[in-house]
Symmetry: C2
Amino acid sequence: MNKVTMADVAKVAGVSKSTVSQYLNKRYEYMGEKTKLKIEEAIEELGYQPNFIARSLKQKRTSMVGIIVANITHFFSTEISRAIEDFCHTHDLHAIFCNADDDPEKEKNYIEMLRAKQVDGLIIFPTGQNNDLYKKMVSQGYPVVFVDRKVENLDVFSVITDNAHATSMAVQHVIEKGHRNIAFVVQPLKVSPRIDRLTGYKKALTDAGIEINSDYIIEASIPDMKNKLEQLFSLEVKPTALFAANDRVFMAVGEFLKEKGIKLGKDLELIVFDNIPFSHLLDSPISFIEQPAAEMGKKAAELLFQQINKEDTPPEVFVFPSRIV
Amino acid sequence: MNKVTMADVAKVAGVSKSTVSQYLNKRYEYMGEKTKLKIEEAIEELGYQPNFIARSLKQKRTSMVGIIVANITHFFSTEISRAIEDFCHTHDLHAIFCNADDDPEKEKNYIEMLRAKQVDGLIIFPTGQNNDLYKKMVSQGYPVVFVDRKVENLDVFSVITDNAHATSMAVQHVIEKGHRNIAFVVQPLKVSPRIDRLTGYKKALTDAGIEINSDYIIEASIPDMKNKLEQLFSLEVKPTALFAANDRVFMAVGEFLKEKGIKLGKDLELIVFDNIPFSHLLDSPISFIEQPAAEMGKKAAELLFQQINKEDTPPEVFVFPSRIV
DNA sequence: TTGTAAGCGTTATCAG
DNA sequence: CTGATAACGCTTACAA
C-alpha cells in the first residue's frame, strides 16, 4: 500500500535520493529553486509519504516517548496524561500510553517493549516492584521520569505531591470540626502515596492527642473493601468521618454508603484524596485534596525532554503541593 | 546506551548473525542445543535487547495499531480504549492512543504521523471532517475501523450504537411519565451521534403528538452552554425534563442546575446519553443511556485485527444496542 | 545445522 | 548545489 519510496520520488523528479532527503529535511539552503519544485511535484504526484521507521533506524531517535500509567482508571492519571501529551505535542514528540494495571509484570513488559521500540524516553507511574529494572535504566543513562510515586534508593527525576502533609492538613481540619473517630480507608499499602497518606493521617491524630485506633484503618483491595467496610460500620463506636485515600476508594465507599443508607454530611463526613470530575455535582459536603495534575504532568514531560536532549542536570525530586477544596 | 547489537551477540556466542536471528524468532527446530545455549548466555551477558525498529523496517509490520480518540475526556472513550487495549494485548499488538480533541486538523496530523510510523492499522473516532483522507486510506486498502460515529459515503468497517433509537426510547419513557416540556441539550451538531440523538428525540415527541419547540433545543459548545441554559430556564414555560446528549453536556448542565438551585428529580427530570462513572453516587433519579463500550471496543479491535491479517470480508457496520438504566 | 549476502527506506559523509 | 555510497540493525533466501 505505501509502496512509494524516496527512490521513486527521486526517479520521477530526475534527481538523486539524497537530494530528496535534503528537501524533506528542509535543508533547502543550497538547493536550486527548480529542483525544489520538481521534487515537490513528484511527491504530490506519487502521494509519497516518508517512512519514519527507516528514518528512526538511521537517526536512532524515534521522537516517541512512552508513558506507563499504573492505573488509567484513576482520574488523576488521565489528567496528568493529558498534560504530558500537550507538552509533547508542542515539542514534536509523540506520546504512547500504556496501562500497567498496577501489575509489575505488565509494567515490566511495557517497559521492555517500549525500549525495544526505541522510544526516546519513558514517564512511569511506577508499581515500585521492578526496582532492578528501574535501576538498570537509570544506570544506562536512559531518560526516565517517575511520577506520582517515589522509588526508594534510586537517584532519579520524580514528580510527586506532598501526600503526607496534605493528608495531615486535611485530617487536622476534620479534627478541628470536632471529629475524633476518623476512619482511614486505603488500598493495599504497596506504593508510596498510600503509605505517605497513612503517615499523614496518623500524624494528624497524634498531633491532636487522639489515639490511633487500628480498627479505623482499613487496608483492602477494591473488591474486598465492602466486607471490611461492613466490619467498620458494625463497630460499637462508629466513625463520624472517613478519609478515602484515593478516588477508587471513594467510589467503593460511596457505593457502600449508598447501599446502607448512610447519609453524607449528616451521618458521616467524607474526605477524599484526589480530584473527582463530578464532585461539583454532588450536593453533599465532601472535602477533596486536589493534586495539581496539569502542572505535574507538564513538569514530568519537561524533565524528560531535557534528559532526551542531554541537558545534564542531576536528578531531582519535585514535590508539588496539593490543595484542599 | 542500547549499543548492543545482534552482531555483538553473534561474536560473543561465536556464531553468525543469522543464527542469532533464528534463535530470537524461536525457530530452534534445526538448531543445535549447544549453539542455543551459547546464544542464550551471550544475550544474558551483554544485556542485549533486540531493536524492533530494524525488524519493522524489514518486515514492514510494526505490530502497533493507532487509536485516534475524538475526545478523551468522554468517559465512554476511555472505556472503549481500555477494551481495545485489552484485545490488542492478548493479540500481541501494541496500542498507541492519540487525542484529536475534536479538531479535524489534529486528527489529520495524527493519522498522517501514525501512518508514517507504519502502524499496522487505525481505529478512529472520526471528527467527520476529513472525508478525503478517510477515503484515501480505504481505497489504499489500509486497515481502518471507525468507531462511535458514522462517516457518510464510505464503505468501511464501523462500530456504532443505535443513537436515534435509544434516545427515542428514553424520551418516550419520560413522556410516559407525564412530561411534555422536554428540553434537548447538545454540542454543535457536527457529528452523527449528536444528529441521530436529536432525530430520536424529535421522533419520540412527534410519535407522542407533542409539538417540537425549538426553544427547547439547545445546541451549544460547552463554554457557551451556560448562557443558553440561562435562556432556556427563563422561558415562560420551563422544561420539566432535560435530555443531555452526552456526559460533557451533563456536567455542564449539572453545574448550571446546582448554581441555580434547581433540584433534580423535584424540579427537573434528567436523562443522559452516556455512562457516568459516579452515577451510583448521585442520589438523584437520573436516567442514563448506557452504551456497551467494552463490547464495542472489543469488536472494533477484532475487526481491525482481521483486516491486518488480510481476512477479506466486505466492510460492514455493526450497530450495538444501548441500554436505558 | 549454520553462514553469506542482499536488501528494507532513510540519512550522512564526502566528493564532484 | 547535487550525487554516490556507506551505514543503521535486522530478516531471509540460498549456499555450504
